[in-house]
Amino acid sequence: MPLTNPLALAVFWSAATIACYFVARQIYRRWPRWYLSPLAVTPALLLALATILHTRYGEYMRGTHWIVLMLGPATVAFAVPIYEQRKVIRRHWPVLLLGVVIGSATAMASAWAMASALGLSGALRLSLLPRSMSTPFAMSVSGDIGGSPDLTAVFVMMTGICGAALGELMLNWLPLRSTLARGALLGMGAHGAGTAKAREFGEEEGSIAGLVMVFAGLLNVLAAPILAYGLKGGF
């Protein structure tokens, strides 16, 4: 029986999303492997369900948009860990800022170079540039530089899923001494998903990752008009 009532649909998909998330979280708690991250398992379960029920993205999103909106209050919530780590941050903010500048430049340059090497061009290539930021910033930058904000949102999510997994592996390889570098790696490389991952390592890593994510977003939004000018051949 197909559901047609929009309210029933909204309740159904919201409940399904939350239920799948809690199932995925239990799975991850039991077997904490990188490929079993709730950010990968939850969408996998939901994508299967949506495919069986022939649901389109627009229909799904109409009912679950409020869940995405919760990212707003979640961003506000970062004031608490940042406040708690204020001593570390007050002492090291220039280092973190430098990391963000280098990281953002690397993100754009590597995306441009790799996309060109693989024959991706036009709006697709431009939409790949801001993928290391958290979604609201990335979509704004993407629009500014002539990409497609919708595509960018998809790439941001792919970056989050890959980055949270990759970050865990990288932390085992790289000889990083400071919690500062570990937090910055996850916050810069995988925005919100990386920050959630960083919180698994510790309070300090988590708040530094959150701060780096916000720094990166702000810096890129401010730099976007200059970048757009450069991309249009202004330089």
Partner: protein, 136 residues
């Protein structure tokens, strides 16, 4: 007079122990941020402006940590849930299931690897350098 003081204490107690009330406070700050961003046409999202406001109030000791902490911890602990619906955009991008998707995955994986290595090494080297010089 006594009544109002009692009411104040009671409200304060409620705020320190209720996650839902604190969640409401954080949502209020987010709405405030959205309104500011729209009024002044700022490029920053409302959440970041709300973050700045709460941080400023905490630093100025206008609000106490215990009146927002429980709500903040709850939101941050379940943050991955809020990303899930956006991933469902893949439903409308079946073209990403083929070679194109593989190419995009390569771009994203190598790019993220570069970003993480560059950021972490920069921060680690600088942190070690400043620590050494601070010790001198």
């Amino acid at each position: 007079m006594m009544f109002s003081r009692k009411a104040v204490i009671r409200t304060r107690y409620a705020f320190r122990h209720s996650r839902l009330l604190q969640l409401g406070v954080l949502m209020g700050f987010w709405c405030f941020g959205q309104a500011i961003a729209e009024t002044f046409r700022l490029p920053a999202p409302g959440g970041v402006i709300g973050l700045a406001a709460v941080l400023a109030l905490l630093l100025a000791r206008r609000i106490s940590l215990s009146s927002v902490r429980l709500g903040a911890e709850m939101l941050l602990a379940e943050m991955l849930l809020f990303f899930v619906p956006s991933v469902m955009a893949l439903l409308d991008h079946t073209e990403f299931l083929g070679v194109l998707g593989l190419k995009l995955l390569v771009v994203i994986l190598t790019g993220t690897l570069c970003v993480m290595a560059a950021t972490a090494l920069t921060v680690d080297l600088c942190a070690r350098w400043t620590m050494r010089h601070a010790a001198d």
